[in-house]
């Protein structure tokens, strides 16, 4: 890279006349093609969010919010103005919180067992952890629903929660295991050597060091659970979570409030990431 640049400069000095000049934009394009392509992809990724945001200020004629009509802040001033919308949002948040707690606790335990101990059936456990991530959601969804059906279990909040913990578990295990594995076991030994009992060692050394892994596993769980549609679709019965509400509205008519909530979620997330970034840069050097 550096070599091409310097040769480019020297030739430019010696013969910096017309033929070189016409080649310049082309050369610039060639050097930055990766950046341009990357930015194009980024635009592709962001575009729908922009559309969602813009259309949260729309005042559609009719039931569907697909065409721009006129500017309005009606939906923003009355985000719960559509029947069942905020109820489904609350339910989704509730399920996401409990699924996160459940999956994080169970997943962290498994991760510690895998990272810290040797035992039989290790390969089996690893496969059982990996399979849910390599399985199409429809398959898991339909299987679990079949089980519930045959057992005569009533679909609703609990079946959704069970399903969500099930598919979030593997992701937590993966995130936490990676962190614990990369941790020097001598740190725990050092703590024990310095008069920390096993419980103190866990609370004062192991947990703080594993915390980033646990946090990212929990965050992922929350996002996956909150946004899950396919598995919920099969196991919800008549219970309506937020994604199910959106799905239904695609058939019945999309209220602008959906866009308001989508945009608000996006902004909250961006703010959280930014705040985390700032806290992160402050602590950056303390992390390895």
């Amino acid at each position: 890279m550096a070599a091409t640049e310097t040769t480019g400069k020297t030739t430019g000095k010696t013969a910096g006349t017309t033929p070189r000049a016409t080649a310049a934009p082309l050369r610039w394009l060639r050097r930055n093609v990766v950046i341009l392509a990357g930015l194009a992809t980024l635009a592709y990724l962001i575009l729908p969010n922009v559309v969602v945001m813009v259309f949260s200020f729309n005042k559609p004629h009719g039931r569907f919010n697909y065409q721009w009509q006129q500017f309005s802040t009606d939906a923003w001033t009355d985000p719960c103005g559509v029947a069942d919308l905020c109820g489904s949002l609350g339910l989704s948040l509730q399920i996401a919180v409990w699924a996160t707690v459940g999956a994080t606790v169970l997943g962290t335990m498994i991760a510690f067992a895998l990272a810290r101990y040797r035992f039989r059936a290790r390969a089996g456990v690893n496969t059982l952890i990996f399979l849910p991530m390599a399985m199409p959601e429809v398959v898991m969804a339909a299987s679990l629903a079949t089980l519930f059906l045959n057992m005569g279990i009533q679909f609703g909040f609990w079946t959704i929660l069970i399903a969500h913990i099930m598919f979030c578990l593997s992701f937590v295990v993966t995130a936490v295991k990676a962190r614990v594995m990369s941790m020097d076991p001598r740190l725990e030994q050092a703590a024990q050597d310095l008069y920390a009992s096993p419980v103190q060692t866990f609370l004062r050394v192991t947990l703080p060091i594993a915390a980033p892994g646990i946090a990212s596993g929990a965050l992922l769980s929350f996002a996956l659970s909150f946004d899950d549609f396919i598995i919920t679709n099969f196991n919800a019965g008549s219970t309506v979570t937020f994604p199910m509400f959106v799905w239904g509205s695609a058939q019945r008519g999309t209220p602008v409030q959906i866009n308001v909530i989508g945009t608000a979620m996006f902004l909250v997330a961006v703010l959280c990431v930014l705040a985390g970034q700032m806290a992160g840069t402050r602590r950056k050097r303390s992390k390895k």
Binding site: Q189, T201, R204, V205, S286, K287
Partner: protein, 393 residues
Amino acid sequence: MTMTHTPQSSGGDVRLSQISKTYGSFTAVHPLDLTVPAGSFFALLGASGCGKTTTLRMIAGLEDPTTGTVELSGEDVTALPPYKRQVNTVFQNYALFPHLDIYENVAFGLRRRGVKSVKKQVEEMLDLVQLGPMARRKPQQLSGGQQQRVAVARALINHPQVLLLDEPLGALDLKLRRQMQLELKRIQTEVGITFVHVTHDQEEAMTMADTVAVMNGGRVEQLGAPADLYENPATTFVANFLGTSNLIEAEVVEAGGEDLLLRAAGTKLRLPAARCSASAAAGDKVLAGVRPEKMALAHADDAASVTDGHNRLPGRIKDASFIGVSTQYVIEAPGAGEISVYEQNITRDGRLIPGAEVVVHWNPAHTFGLDAAQSLLAGKTGAAGADLDEEAA
């Protein structure tokens, strides 16, 4: 430098009785007895995989011995977990807590034992290791030498009876290592705590320790003061691992006198009977060992001028390398293989160049005898075992 506010901890002694460690079918440490006297600087020396780290970890309580007992100051602590032992460790790569700053790292042990006001002690300890201004930094922001000193401070602040050091200088560059060797020795003299130091660096062990135990294959090969080990190695492993030795296969011709008479490489050599650790009746095979710096070279033309009574071996210079304080020669001696000779650069004989015919000679008193039933190569660099010790840990 004193620590007046606390009772001066006079170190405790460590007594290992028939202690051993096996992992499945692999024996890391064969049953061994070892006593480290209170207040001494004791080194466990050996190549990686020799069981030295496992032994250290059994003293710390980080490894349960398969058999045997560990006593600290006369008290059996074998069943005590590490956090109940008056022993602290300076870990390999230091194991400083990355999520805590230097101050909290050093205060960790005190806090765990419920000490309320740690400030004064921590600050004094940081001063002792000259890291006062660094108190609020995180370990990653410190250089290797500084981290090493934090690790020492973090252990010493607890006034352990015994301080265990697991390759504490391994991660430092040569110059810093030399400096820290002296530093550690100074601290040890000041605080009077028993130090048990694990290292694979023979020079480090010899510089710092009063007593060195050379370990190989899970056993203690030899134990003694550094000079004693160097002068009187009991095995080929020790002879080769501590410095360099020329080992010459020989047969005892005549025993009974003050000196043994040996036949080797077609010539006669003399060996003080007291310095032969192997049985030496006439006809027995022994290895005659000599340190390279104890030998001298004379050009073949000057053979007559060699001191009377010296052992001699004829040979040809194969290689000569000038390294400042000395010149190291490799001599091809028929029947005795290759012999290393270090000549001090006092007067340099211009004829001593590769190809020259020479006579290697030395005072017979500098010869030591070893049992011939051992590998000549044991303990040579590169012949060491695999990294089993560290792997198992």
